[in-house]
């Protein structure tokens, strides 16, 4: 709201005095070059609109985080700062169990997804084989089909094969983990393939000429080159697993509740600052993992391209 009202005030002023727009541009460090015909990004209308959109995109999340520190049970008006609800969440055994479950599933799923995704990426990058388009299609199918379809399919599948429901921890998390791997590793494969595009195959040939076996080439040449892609892929798999709600919702049993499932049942039960506290923790973890993943992917564009 503030950004758009600011915008409304500025735009006509800038139009009246072109010198001012340039001064503003200079103050913002954009040099003195005149506005070219394609400099649409310099339009204050567009900038104001985008600022308003980003405000709307982040304000609810910011509010959620701020209100997790609100000293009020009903959490409607600000009553003062407290960390009570974090302490409360910490002492909520079910919530902590759900959190531990989520982390266990995410860790296992990340490990297996990274391996499977890398395998799929290497196969599609390296080999010509009959059924290659089919292979490629199969590994991208989990990305395109609606989550709810995959969720109900998993539910019916584990029910049909008679997946035992009375397994002890951590085996009770097995079916959720299997489902998470199935939808996560195709994303890892995409990220790793993007990284492989820049790989210089002469390095491989040089190693082979020097007597390295195929596996040695893979281990000592290709994998070290892939490292940023592997980390980025692992981060994506981790976030996908930790965040997943829809597919987990259909596969979770009473003894395999994950954090998003627990948050969902808490929301249904009533809105409390404890939900805000639990959500804030989840946000912190997944956003940190994403920022690491994005940072890792950036150098991947360097070799060969641009």
């Amino acid at each position: 709201m503030t950004a758009s009202s600011l915008e409304a005030e500025r735009a006509p002023a800038a139009a009246r005095r072109p010198g001012r727009a340039r001064r503003v541009a200079r103050a913002l460090g954009r040099g003195e070059e005149a506005r070219g015909p394609l400099d649409y990004a310099r339009s204050w209308w567009l900038r104001g609109f985008a600022a308003a959109v980003f405000l709307a995109l982040y304000a609810p999340i910011a509010m959620l985080i701020v209100f997790s520190f609100n000293d009020s049970r009903r959490n409607i008006v600000w009553q003062g700062f407290t960390t009570d609800y974090y302490v409360k969440a910490w002492n909520n055994a079910e919530l902590i169990q759900a959190f531990v479950n989520s982390l266990t599933i995410a860790a296992t799923s990340t490990l297996v997804s990274t391996i499977l995704g890398t395998c799929a990426a290497l196969v599609l990058w390296r080999f010509r084989f009959p059924g290659r388009p089919l292979y490629e299609g199969l590994t991208s199918l989990p990305i395109v089909i609606p989550e709810i379809c995959m969720g109900v399919a998993m539910m019916a599948f584990f029910n049909r094969i008679g997946w035992p429901t009375d397994l002890g921890w951590p085996w009770v998390l097995g079916n959720i983990t299997i489902a998470h791997i199935a939808f996560s590793f195709p994303f890892v494969a995409i990220v790793v393939r993007a990284r492989l595009v820049g790989f210089n195959r002469e390095l491989e040939e040089a190693a082979r000429d020097l007597g390295a076996s195929e596996w040695q080439v893979l281990r000592d040449i290709v994998l070290p080159y892939l490292k940023p892609g592997l980390i980025a892929g692992a981060m994506i798999a981790f976030v996908l697993s930790l965040d997943d709600f829809v597919i987990t919702f259909f596969t979770a049993g009473p003894n395999s509740v994950t954090l998003p499932i627990k948050i969902f049942s808490m929301i249904r039960f009533g809105v409390t600052p404890e939900i805000n506290a639990a959500s804030t923790i989840l946000i912190l973890i997944t956003v940190a993992a994403t920022v690491v993943g994005v940072a890792m992917q950036r150098p991947g564009h360097d070799p060969g391209k641009e």
Partner: protein, 304 residues
């Protein structure tokens, strides 16, 4: 690329594990659901595969057809809003000159991806409720207008005596807001990828030949980004039909979408064959949309 036969000792260990995993834990479950959708419910747990089409016929019965129709309307409107809001933002990011700002704004679009969709949906409750910031702003506006009109004695006549907050929560409006909010980044990224790729010399040519900026946008930019628009629309519209938790958290008694009906068939109503048929209708819609996109991409010769 190497031929697979020359390096079978590498090929099989790499190719098999992902393929087997998807075969067993993805294709088999989907096939199971597909077969179930032609099944008949006998008892509480018993389902006989009779290859009946009754489950699909049930989906067009008035009760479910109206939910289907409402889902298409609500999700369609939400997708349209997403597009109208997302296009200018993607456009701005694509035309930014500073690479730092570009990276920063892109990160700004990507971060919401990482924030749990359930948490993002939940965060809207505090914004939309009668005591939330939207109503606070509306109340301030109302009070201002009431006071101003009160000077000429029209305040009560035009605006009523007392402020009544907008009842945004637990309504279809809230569901639409929720879908737009949750899916916004999904719309922006394909649009950005497409707009970014436009050859700028086309735009310069259009402007040099005397077309206005508006004309250039309508006749050059828009057709060139048609593919990105289509990708964004598909990526928002189809999944939004299945996100049952958005109506569950934000919607009212009449806000159910197809996703809620599917969820109920599996979780409480316990009519798996019908739920399976509904989810396969959603799958067919997905494949249809993807095929349409492929056809259009083929005709236009590539794109994003």
């Amino acid at each position: 690329m190497d031929d697979w036969k020359r390096n079978q000792r590498i090929f099989w260990p790499l190719a098999l594990p992902p393929a087997v995993w998807l075969l067993v834990f993805f294709l088999v479950p989907l096939s199971l659901i597909w077969v179930l959708s032609f099944g008949e419910k006998l008892g509480i747990q018993e389902i006989a595969t009779t290859w009946t089409l009754d489950n699909y016929a049930k989906a067009v019965e008035p009760l479910y057809a109206s939910i289907l129709w409402k889902s298409l309307r609500i999700c369609g409107l939400a997708t349209l809003i997403c597009l109208l809001v997302g296009y200018p933002v993607a456009f701005l990011i694509a035309f930014l000159r500073s690479s730092m700002w570009k990276a920063l704004l892109l990160l700004g679009v990507i971060i919401p991806f990482a924030i749990n969709i359930l948490v993002r949906t939940f965060s809207l409750i505090a914004v939309l409720r009668p005591t939330g910031p939207i109503n606070a702003a509306y109340e301030a506006l109302w009070n201002g207008a009431h006071a101003v009109l009160g000077v000429v004695g029209l305040g009560d006549a035009l605006l009523g005596e007392r402020f009544t907050p907008l009842m945004l929560m637990y309504s279809n409006t809230a569901v639409i807001v929720g879908i737009v909010f949750v899916f916004f980044p999904f719309m922006v990224l394909p649009l950005y990828a497409n707009i970014e790729k436009i050859d700028r010399s086309y735009l310069e040519a259009s402007l040099d030949l005397g077309a206005s900026h508006l004309r250039t946008f309508v006749s050059v930019i828009l057709p060139l980004t048609w593919h990105g628009i289509l990708s964004g629309v598909i990526i928002v519209f189809i999944p939004s039909l299945g996100y049952f938790f958005i109506p569950e958290i934000l919607g009212g008694a009449n806000s159910d979408l197809i996703g809620n009906v599917i969820e109920r068939q599996f979780k409480s109503a316990n009519n798996w064959p019908f739920g399976a048929a509904l989810s396969f209708l959603l799958m067919y819609a997905t494949f249809g949309a993807l095929a349409l996109r492929a056809v259009i991409a083929g005709r236009r010769g590539g794109g994003a």
